[in-house]
């Protein structure tokens, strides 16, 4: 006769390591991964501070997201210490983990001892449904989705690059999107600026973008700036944003943005397009090079065409804008390797992506200095600035 469930559990507990809540408390922050194996509704009532959540029913498929190293110290707990014992056996016997303990008495005993619990922020039922495909990813999950909802991203332009970026960031649940654009929708924009539509020709782009975003995801707050970004307003607009998405088509503003973002220490996800080719890089102040490290001076106007004068394949800003959106989400989540110190070059005709390294310039006129040393009057300035602007207009 097969043993009862209670008997099997007793046998498991006799051979897996168990740990007292007092020892767990002492080890918090000492490198052990503490994992709550209860169901989502139990987790939402409060968990051990710093614990990660891997429901027992998804243990085998999701444990590597929280404990990728099979030799690291893993402490499992549940409500009373039974489910965590079963889970510990699975990790030790079936998944090859070598250092796993189950906390005796579960969170019930933990609370009885008067130890602190952390109340997780929760999503509404509608949000759980809307973001369910994010929640299934260990790299996002509820915690990552909360980061997205809390994030404030500023988009410079609701044009070719800004349209797809705004759409996907809104769909992903980035909670605040600022949009700077003083233009109105033109019929010739609609070949690529997919956030607008034929009924909105003549409408300010910030209003058109807001309408589309709000219809797509009411979680998103849209801040509209129907202005041209310039020296007189940049320090009013940028502060408070976590990330700036740049698709600027002119060099004076590009340098101004660089200098302001270094001073404010806000990362800039930058892309540029021309014809069938696009470039992308992430300029994260002091972690990597800034735009001036890459290009200390702009080219003369005749070598710096913008899309207005040159054709652009309509899908290309879509491709590059979505690469920008991807980098933004990675930065918010703190996942993956952002394109910091690298310039990606996409060639649509050749269907190739290549990259070159960008180094920080130790002599960079801006990012070699402390942010507070960068003065208002030197932001956006470069040699021959007057001549450049005279030639450009």
């Amino acid at each position: 006769m097969s043993p009862s469930g209670a008997e099997v559990l007793r046998q498991i507990k006799s051979r897996i390591p168990e740990v007292d809540p007092a020892d767990v408390r002492d080890q918090l922050g000492n490198g052990a991964v503490v994992i709550d194996v209860r169901e989502a509704e139990e987790w939402s009532t409060g968990h051990i501070p710093g614990a990660k959540h891997v429901p027992k029913s998804f243990l085998e498929s999701r444990i590597e997201g929280s404990a990728p190293d099979r030799d690291q110290h893993v402490i499992l707990y549940c409500q009373s210490g039974n489910r965590s014992a079963w889970a510990a056996r699975t990790l030790l016997d079936d998944l090859g983990y070598s250092n796993v303990e189950s906390m005796t008495g579960g969170i019930t005993l933990w609370k009885d001892r008067g130890y602190g619990v952390e109340q997780p922020r929760t999503l509404t039922a509608e949000q759980r449904d809307r973001y369910s495909r994010h929640l299934l990813l260990p790299e996002v999950g509820i915690e990552g989705q909360q980061k997205l909802l809390d994030a404030k991203v500023l988009l410079l332009g609701a044009g070719g690059l800004g349209s797809p970026t705004a759409l996907y960031l809104a769909a992903a649940g980035v909670g605040t999107l600022g949009i700077v654009d003083d233009d109105t929708v033109d019929l010739s924009n609609l070949q690529r600026q997919v956030i607008h539509n034929s009924n909105r020709v003549g409408v300010p782009k910030v209003d058109s973008a807001e309408e589309t975003i709000t219809a797509l995801n009411p979680d998103v707050q849209v801040n509209k700036y129907p202005v041209r970004l310039g020296p007189s307003n940049i320090m009013d607009i940028l502060p408070g944003y976590d990330i700036v998405v740049d698709g600027l088509d002119n060099f004076p503003t590009r340098y101004l943005l660089n200098d302001a973002s270094v001073r404010l220490q806000i990362p800039v996800v930058s892309a540029a397009i021309l014809g069938f080719e696009g470039q992308l890089s992430v300029f994260k102040p002091y972690d990597g090079p800034c735009y001036r490290c890459l290009f200390p001076t702009p080219p003369p106007p005749e070598l710096a065409p913008s899309c207005g004068a040159n054709g652009v394949l309509g899908v290309l800003p879509g491709t590059m804008g979505l690469l920008q959106a991807t980098e933004v989400i990675k930065l918010i989540l703190g996942e993956g390797d952002p394109a910091i110190g690298r310039l990606l070059m996409y060639d649509a005709l050749a269907a190739t992506v290549s990259e070159v390294k960008i180094r920080r310039d130790p002599a960079c006129p801006i990012c070699s200095r402390h942010p507070e040393q960068i003065a208002d009057e030197e932001m956006g300035v470069f040699p021959d600035y007057e001549a450049f602007c005279a030639g450009a207009h």
Partner: protein, 93 residues
Amino acid sequence: MATIKIPPVLRPSVGGEREISADGSSVGEILRSLADNHPDTKTQLFGSDGALNRYVNVYLNDEDVRVLDGLETVVGTSDTLVILPAMAGGARL
């Protein structure tokens, strides 16, 4: 012969080619060979002092030649030089 990748803004100066092969054993020799064969590229690549214009970056494979030996950097026949002028394109702000 090393391969040079030509950026869009320089293509009109080289008959529309996207890639060009050029002789030379250093970055400087190869770029000067390019400029000799396609004179319109000369002022775009080099300043009046013969140095590379600062708004043009040149990479040997994926490394900026300025952190290597500049125009003296040795180039092998299977190497690729990437010419990268600053590019802007997107929203008009």
